[in-house]
């Protein structure tokens, strides 16, 4: 049986931990050893049940996004997350290399973990990308812009790309490893599990064969039923730092809707304002299977759970809190399957948007029409296929050899001497 490490280096949403945990549980159930090496350790407490044998801190930059107002490409994000200088990146890369050589995974599953991938490539460890698309860029040089609502000068993309690549190659040189010809090669993998469909891909359409479908679960979490009553059924999955939290609570509490809300660490005063006989407020993720069939709108930030529950034909109301989610929100809007709200939106605006999605039948019709485009998809089947492919790869020799050394010397050994 294999040793499988799930790495989550960038991106600050609960969805990363949850998605890794789902695949990890299946692999562990088949006898594999699993480690999580995550950027945010507090998320572990909110997993329905943590599937990892061991948990580690991912080597990440302590300061992120410094001096970057509006990233336009993944290269911009990388420069803000440790790829600012060879010195800084070498430290982070060294942390990953040291850990990989100690823990000795047979396979690294990267959830938006470029430096983990780079370390795995230095050592020749099998590796796969697993994510909704944003962290798995098309392998272009320079890395393409994801920002689409304002012009991005090509020279800006090239400049950021060159900056990040110089850090990569300067860091690799410190390990005696030959330079990469292009930044996109950092993401080289044995398989890309693009957990979305083209309509919602952050980078637009890619070859269809590359899509594995959204990653979310309907069979995990606290068993929850819709409260009795006649009101519309509103599911809510948001973080407590949602800018419009008080307005959202005001809208929900002032309506006749039935509500099932997962808002981790929501302050007791706010819980008290929201909770009632017809409104459930959960500290833990709720099992979505029993909730989705009757759900009239799903309220979220636009992460995995949005992309996932859309596949159940549920229309969406999206509160994007960062650009990746904003891209998803705009695509949901383009599909006619939901609406999205600005951070400064008022209670009246939220109420109006929610009413439109709930009472204008086109949103539910479009959501169902979108889901019908992928009749073979189910969340469990998507997970099973990912898990099966990981096992196939484990049974094969690694597809990528360790990166060549500058001096022609043997590659870095995978275990410490």
């Amino acid at each position: 049986m294999g040793r499988i490490a799930f790495a989550w280096e960038l991106g600050a949403e609960f969805g990363h931990a949850v998605a890794c945990n789902e695949i990890a549980r299946k692999l562990r159930g088949r006898g594999h050893q699993v480690a999580f090496i995550f950027r945010e350790l507090h998320q572990i407490d909110f997993l329905a049940d943590c599937a990892a044998d061991e948990i580690f801190q991912a080597p990440v930059s302590l300061v992120e996004g410094k001096g970057l107002e509006n990233p336009a490409s993944l290269a911009d994000i990388l420069v803000g997350c440790g790829y600012d200088s060879p010195q800084h990146l070498a430290g982070i890369l060294g942390g990953w290399i040291a850990w990989l050589r100690r823990w000795k995974p047979d396979m690294l599953v990267s959830d938006f973990s470029p430096t983990a991938l780079l370390a795995a490539s230095v050592l020749g460890v099998r590796r796969v990308n697993y994510g909704n698309g944003f962290g798995i860029p098309p392998r272009m040089s320079p890395l393409p812009a994801f920002r689409f609502d304002e012009p991005v000068p090509p020279e800006r993309l090239a400049r950021s790309d060159a900056h990040a690549l110089a850090s990569v190659n300067g860091a690799l040189a410190r390990f005696g490893v030959a330079p990469l010809p292009m930044l996109a090669q950092v993401f080289a993998s044995d398989e890309d599990f693009l957990a979305t469909f083209p309509e919602l891909d952050s980078y637009g359409s890619r070859p269809r064969t590359g899509y594995w479908g959204p990653r979310y679960s309907v069979d995990q979490g606290v068993a929850t039923r819709w409260p009795a009553g006649a009101g519309k059924r509103v599911a809510v999955y948001v973080k407590r730092n949602l800018a419009q939290m008080d307005s959202l609570i005001e809208v929900l509490a002032g309506s006749t809707h039935r509500v099932a809300a997962f808002i981790p660490e929501l302050e007791p005063q706010r819980v008290a304002r929201l909770r009632s006989a017809s409104r459930i407020v959960s500290e833990r993720p709720m099992r979505l299977g029993p909730l989705l069939p009757g759900c009239d709108v799903f309220v979220s930030h636009g992460g995995n759970v949005c992309v996932g529950t859309l596949m159940a034909g549920v229309p969406q109301l999206v509160f994007p809190s960062q650009y990746e989610q904003y891209i998803t929100a705009r695509r949901v809007e383009q599909l006619g399957a939901g609406l999205w709200l600005q951070p400064q939106s008022t209670a009246a605006e939220i109420r109006a948007a929610m009413e439109r999605v709930l009472y204008d039948p086109s949103y539910a019709l479009n959501a169902r029409a979108y889901a019908r485009r992928y009749p073979a998809y189910s969340p469990a089947e998507a997970q099973r296929r990912v898990m099966k492919r990981i096992e196939e790869l484990l049974a094969e020799p690694p597809r990528h050899r360790a990166l060549p050394r500058l001096d022609g010397a043997p590659v870095l050994p995978r275990t410490p001497s």
């Binding site: 998320q43 909110f46 430290g91 942390g95 100690r102």
Partner: protein, 397 residues
């Protein structure tokens, strides 16, 4: 020989890296297998490039709201993430995995409270190392950080209780037997090494702790020399972003003295613009010892590193502490008679008059001479080796 993990979590200055990496090297020279865990990724390469496996220490979420004037050290820890049950719970799991993966037998903790709680739970031997601030005296409750502004014991105990309650809840019933019961338990270790002089220790005099003295190599910076024959030579080591920086430099220009101002990060252009007459401003770290050996006055923020060098060189100090730790150190030096302090919360003084009066103050010179005499023969280089030997002793006991 032992497997040792040198951990640094909190405190922003380079001092932690400059202390811990040489200690790690000295431990390796003694035959131990040493790894590093730093919270700040920016400094990992300083350890890795010296041949150590360097990991990122498990991170606590940075809390959105902090108390700008913490009452005691429990309050400090609550401010830096220890009020967050889920963060502590996750970080302790990650520390446990790392300690097991490395087979760690001893933790050297440099302001590394989460590592210490994890080490306590794992039954790992521990040695703390630092300049004193991160090691509060083991009283119950932990003492107030501002002894001149007394607080009721109940206030201090409330912070202790909240800290311990949160940590114990994060640990859960399985680890309850080893979980800290009082706040002071969090800091318990087999030895406490104070890499400073008692005159610089914010909590001196204290019962626990061994003074191995300040350590390190101060010669890595730019090598400058005094040039003129002015009656007074003033050396200033200041943060260029400090709000008093410009006023101090202006005052130096008006003094009849040769002045060297080291302001790392200032930028070469501004440094040359501020230089002229008897004042040289450089934007890089400088080699301290040759300058302090012939200086009449040292102006600094009372960071423990520079202050120790000035103290050993018998140079009186004009101190402009920026935050609580520096203020506590400054206050100690003032008590020893070797410094004058401008409190961070007071109005800007007339720096020219203040500095002129210090240059003329014979009792200050005498105070500085007396303290230096008490530490005559202290070797900054030897202190690292002594610390490593003491750690080694604990590891092999």
């Amino acid at each position: 020989m032992a497997r040792i993990l040198c951990a640094w979590e909190y405190g922003a200055d380079l001092g932690h890296v400059r202390r811990l990496v040489p200690v790690a090297e000295a431990l390796r020279d003694l035959g131990h297998e040493v790894s590093i865990a730093f919270r700040d990724s920016a400094h990992l390469e300083a350890a890795r490039s010296r041949g150590f496996d360097a990991y990122v220490a498990p991170l606590l979420r940075i809390p959105p709201f902090v108390n700008p004037a913490p009452a005691n050290f429990s309050d400090v820890l609550l401010n830096i993430g220890f009020a967050d049950l889920h963060s502590i719970s996750g970080a302790l799991r990650a520390w446990r995995s790392l300690l097991e993966l490395l087979g760690t037998q001893l933790i050297v903790a440099d302001y590394a409270p989460t590592a210490m709680v994890a080490g306590r739970l794992a039954g790992t031997r521990m040695v703390t190392i630092g300049t004193g601030f991160a090691l509060p005296p083991p009283t119950d409750p932990l003492p107030a950080l501002r002894p001149w502004a007394p607080l009721e014991e109940g206030v201090l105990r409330a912070h202790d209780d909240r800290l311990v309650r949160t940590i114990r809840e994060a640990i859960g019933p399985a680890g309850a037997g080893r979980a800290p019961v009082r706040a002071r338990d969090i800091f318990a270790a087999d030895a406490h090494l104070l890499c400073t002089f008692p005159e610089l220790d914010p909590f001196a005099p204290r019962d626990t702790g061994e003074y191995v003295g300040p350590q390190g190599d101060a010669s890595s910076g730019e090598d400058l020399r005094w040039q003129g024959t002015a009656a007074h030579r003033i050396f200033a080591y200041l943060k260029p972003r400090n709000e008093r920086f410009d006023a101090v430099v202006a005052a130096l220009h008006a003094l009849d003295a040769e002045c060297i101002v080291a302001a790392p990060g200032l930028g070469h252009e501004r440094a040359s613009a501020l230089s002229g007459g008897g004042v040289r401003v450089v934007s890089a770290p400088v080699n301290l010892d040759p300058l302090l050996a012939e200086a009449s006055l040292c102006i600094t923020h009372a960071g423990p590193g520079v202050a120790a060098r000035a103290l050993a060189a018998a140079v009186p100090m004009a101190l402009l502490p920026q935050h609580l730790e520096q203020f506590l150190i400054a206050r100690r030096i003032e008590q020893s008679g070797a410094a004058s302090v401008v409190r961070p919360d007071t109005r800007q003084p007339d720096f020219h008059a203040w500095l002129a009066s210090l240059l003329a103050d014979a009792s200050l010179r005498e105070g500085a001479r007396r303290v230096a005499e008490a530490h005559r023969g202290h070797s900054f280089g030897e202190a690292t080796r002594r610390a490593a030997e003491r750690i080694s002793q604990v590891a092999l006991a």
